[in-house]
Each structure stands twice: as structure tokens, then as C-alpha cells.
């Protein structure tokens, strides 16, 4: 079954991400879509896709977040993978995936999902 997709225009974005919206608006966000997925029918993952006005705008957001102890897999134009989340950018798209619990194979599953999204952006 396809997940329910919620989409927010720039003037609605704060309804979804509260004060975080400011930096996206400043960088130039055109729309935001979000949906819940279940990985391996078990782990809830929220996927946010921010469509920015340009690749540079996506890079602005990506670079604004401290990398901390991220892995940097080959995905999109740049990516950071953590134990429970993945963020990557591809052209004007910025994708954030967040899981609500840890699991041994979760980073690999997130990466697979990331590649699935990347392939859609490349079409």
C-alpha cells in the first residue's frame, strides 16, 4: 500500500516543522512532502523531501547541519548516514529519513531506501 503523502507549501511549512521552517524559507524551499514508511514491516521511518529552488539551496541546508559522527556513503551529491537517520541531497532535492528506533540492519535499509529515492530524482 502506498503511504499517505502530506505536502506543505512554503507558507504552510511551519505547521509541519515549526521554527525549523525559517531556515528552509531563507534558503529557498518550493515545497515539502512527507510520508511514513515501514522498513521490513517493523520500523517506522519518516521521509521528508524538500524541493528547493536550486542545488545551491539544498546544499545550504545540508551544510548548515553539523556532521558529527556521520558516515558519508555514496548517494546523491552528498549524504550523511547515522544509526537512525539519513540525509542526502541530489540536485535541488534534500531528503531526510528518520527512524524512531534503532535496529541492527537499519542504516543499510535506510541507504537502500535512499537509493530508491535517488533513482526517482534521476529520471
Amino acid at each position: 500500500m502506498s503511504p499517505e503523502v502530506r505536502t506543505f507549501s512554503p507558507d504552510q511549512l511551519s505547521e509541519y516543522i515549526d521554527g525549523d521552517a525559517e531556515k528552509y524559507l531563507k534558503a529557498g524551499v518550493k515545497s515539502t512532502s512527507t510520508a511514513d514508511y515501514k522498513l521490513n514491516n517493523q520500523i517506522q521511518v519518516v521521509v521528508d523531501v524538500y524541493t528547493m529552488s536550486s542545488p545551491a539551496a539544498a546544499k545550504t541546508i545540508f551544510d548548515s547541519e553539523p556532521a558529527m559522527d556521520a558516515q558519508t556513503p555514496t548517494l546523491g551529491d552528498a549524504a550523511r548516514l547515522y544509526t537512525q537517520s539519513l540525509i542526502f541531497r541530489k540536485g535541488p532535492y534534500l531528503v531526510r529519513m528518520v527512524a524512531y528506533q534503532e535496529a541492527p540492519q537499519l542504516p543499510l535499509a535506510l541507504l537502500d531506501l535512499g537509493h530508491a529515492f535517488e533513482s526517482k530524482f534521476s529520471r
Binding site: D11, S14, E15, I17, D18, G19, D20, A21, E22, K23, Q44, V46, E65, P66, M68, D69, A70, Y82, T83, Q84, S85, R96, V98, A99, Y100, Q101, E102
Partner: protein, 338 residues
């Protein structure tokens, strides 16, 4: 205290304050009624209770440990040996009591359901009927996503969003400073008293979000209040009479906090603080939260919030002579860790 229901709220608060002062502690009365920056006033008390084993080996805090932690925090705050007594001091049995939670960040970083259940349990033991307890936030969708089971059954504890069809926002436009807004009917009409149950978070605009910023979930236009690091808007909205008069207690969920990337949940910036903070002074507890977040940021090698360009400057504004919502002066805050 046996004839409390017949007393006015003013009398009740006065009695609490006198009793606490006599015991040498800060008053349980709502601190916004006093000026804790004044040297002749008692200090604002903030209690931090922590339990390193709160989560056990699981992903969620254990209910029994949360209940004990809440009792430890409240009893330390009220200097009481009885876990129910602090609640009896603050709330009368005939009052409708609201719990304003914070659920915008989803299940990873919202007020934990187990904490809310523990508070509801103690309120009922203090004589508040289940039907007179309302757990609420902006929207049903956010509550649902954070793990709350929605219910508007008038015979049980209610769990409702302001966007419920039968709730909505009050028609009266209230204003103070830069804020012009309408408040949720849960606050404006339904409830007599409120407990603020926020969560310890970094905020990319305001710097820190805990008690004062949680009021952005009680009004109809929070999106209009984020300019200039949410300052002075956060202080201004807390000046609105229903907020000043009805919020009597803050029980902050600091079991999981975030030190960067807030207010939304980004797991790489979240950590288990394993704590509950209790206060009645929203400025003092926010100042304490700021210190906690700064310590964690330093530990992880991040810039201070000042260096990052997002100092929570609204805290000092909330404490200034115009707002007098509490104290941000560490020498006027009686911090007790238990």
C-alpha cells in the same frame, strides 16, 4: 487545608506561599505573581530529578521508574514526604486541569505518554476527576503521531487537539507587544488551571525551547512569531492573561533531549538526559534548560548558541522589568538536583 474548595484561588495561593516560606522553601504559588529578581523575594526553585536506568534496556522509558522519578521531583519541589500532597496544594478537586504537552516533533522527541499518565494518576489521587483532566496540543494529528490515543469522552481523561471540530480558537483577539493572537478554547474556556509539560529541546530559531516557547502551541498563529529569534514574541505571548493566570506548574520532560537541529527530531542530535525538571518559574526553568543544552553542546564539540547565532535572548527579555515573568539570574535560582 481541609476546606480548600471554599477558598478563593488568591487565598489558596497565599496560603501555599506562606506555608512554604515558613518551611524555608520557595513558594509553590505560581512564581509569576512575584518578582524573584528582587533580593527580598525567595529564590525560584528548579528541581532536576534524574534516573540513569530510566530506559532500562529498551527504547522507551519504563513507566514505573517514570512515576517514581516524577514523585521524587515533585516531592523535592514541595519539600513533602507525600507524593500526592504537592498536587493537592496546587489544584482543587473541582477544577478542570489541562496538560499542555509538546508533540510537534513526533514520537522521537515529544512529551512521553508515560509521564503524562503518571501526572494524570497523581491528579486523580489529589481529587481531580478524570473528566476534569484535558491533555492537549495544537492538533489531533500531532498527538496521534506522538503516541497519544485521542479521546473526547467526557467521562474520561480527554486527549484532544485544538483543531478538533468542537474546540477551535477563542474569538477574542488578545495582544501584548508584538503578539496579536487568539488562544485555544482549551486554555481560554475549558480549563481553570494548566500544567505545562514541555520537552527539552534546542530550537534553530529561538535557541532553546522548554516552558516559555511551548506557548507557541496554544495560539492560532505561531508562524507569525518567529522573527528575530522569536524575541520578544515568546516573552510577549507569555504575558497574555490566560497564560499568566492559568499555568501553575511546569513538569518538563527531559528524558530525551536534543542539543542541535531542533525543534524537530533528528536522532543524531538527541540524547538521553534521563530527567524530569519541575518549577513554577518558567524563566528560571528555561535558563536551567539553556545551561543543560550548552553543556551537552560543549561535550559534543559544538559552538555555543551565542556563537551559532541563536542565543535564547527571549529568556532575558522574559525576566526584564517590563515582563517580570521570572528570573534568569543564576544567583536567584535555587537549583536542586535529586
Amino acid at each position: 487545608m481541609t476546606n480548600m474548595p471554599e477558598k478563593t484561588r488568591r487565598d489558596f495561593l497565599k496560603e501555599c506561599a506562606i506555608g512554604a516560606l515558613a518551611a524555608g522553601a520557595a513558594p509553590l504559588a505560581f512564581a509569576r505573581d512575584v518578582n524573584p529578581t528582587s533580593a527580598n523575594q525567595p529564590k525560584s526553585k528548579v528541581v532536576i530529578a534524574r534516573d540513569a536506568a530510566l530506559f532500562g534496556s529498551g527504547a522507551n522509558p519504563e513507566a514505573a521508574r517514570v512515576e517514581k522519578l516524577l514523585d521524587r521531583a515533585m516531592q523535592a519541589y514541595a519539600d513533602s514526604s507525600d507524593p500526592v500532597a504537592p498536587w493537592k496544594k496546587l489544584f482543587k478537586p473541582n477544577e478542570v486541569v489541562g496538560l499542555k504537552v509538546n508533540t510537534i516533533a513526533g514520537p522521537g522527541l515529544s512529551t512521553h505518554v508515560v509521564l503524562v499518565e503518571a501526572i494524570c494518576e497523581r491528579l486523580q489521587q489529589a481529587g481531580i476527576k478524570p473528566a476534569n483532566i484535558v491533555v492537549w496540543d495544537r492538533t489531533n494529528g500531532e498527538l496521534d503521531r506522538a503516541g497519544y490515543t485521542l479521546s473526547s469522552d467526557p467521562n474520561r481523561v480527554r486527549f484532544v487537539g485544538t483543531d478538533s471540530q468542537d474546540i477551535g480558537y477563542d474569538g477574542t483577539l488578545l495582544s501584548y507587544g508584538v503578539v496579536k493572537t487568539r488562544l485555544s478554547n482549551v486554555l481560554a474556556r475549558t480549563c481553570d488551571a494548566m500544567i505545562n509539560v514541555p520537552i527539552l529541546k534546542h530550537h534553530s530559531g529561538a535557541g532553546v525551547t522548554l516552558a516559555l516557547k511551548n506557548m507557541y502551541g496554544v495560539n492560532n498563529n505561531p508562524d507569525k512569531l518567529h522573527a528575530n529569534n522569536c524575541c520578544p514574541a515568546i516573552a510577549d505571548i507569555n504575558m497574555l492573561p490566560p497564560i499568566r493566570n492559568k499555568f501553575r506548574l511546569i513538569v518538563a520532560d527531559a528524558m530525551t533531549g536534543c542539543f542541535e537541529g531542533g525543534p524537530m527530531f533528528k536522532p543524531q542530535y538527541a540524547w538521553r538526559y534521563n530527567g524530569i525538571l519541575v518549577a513554577t518559574d518558567p524563566v528560571a526553568i528555561d535558563q536551567t534548560a539553556w545551561d543543560i543544552i550548552e553543556r551537552k553542546r560543549a561535550e559534543r564539540g559544538l559552538k555555543t548558541l551565542q556563537q551559532a547565532g541563536t542565543p535564547p535572548k527571549y529568556i532575558a527579555v522574559a525576566a526584564n522589568s517590563e515582563h517580570r515573568l521570572g528570573t534568569d539570574d543564576p544567583s536567584r535560582i535555587a537549583l536542586q538536583e535529586v
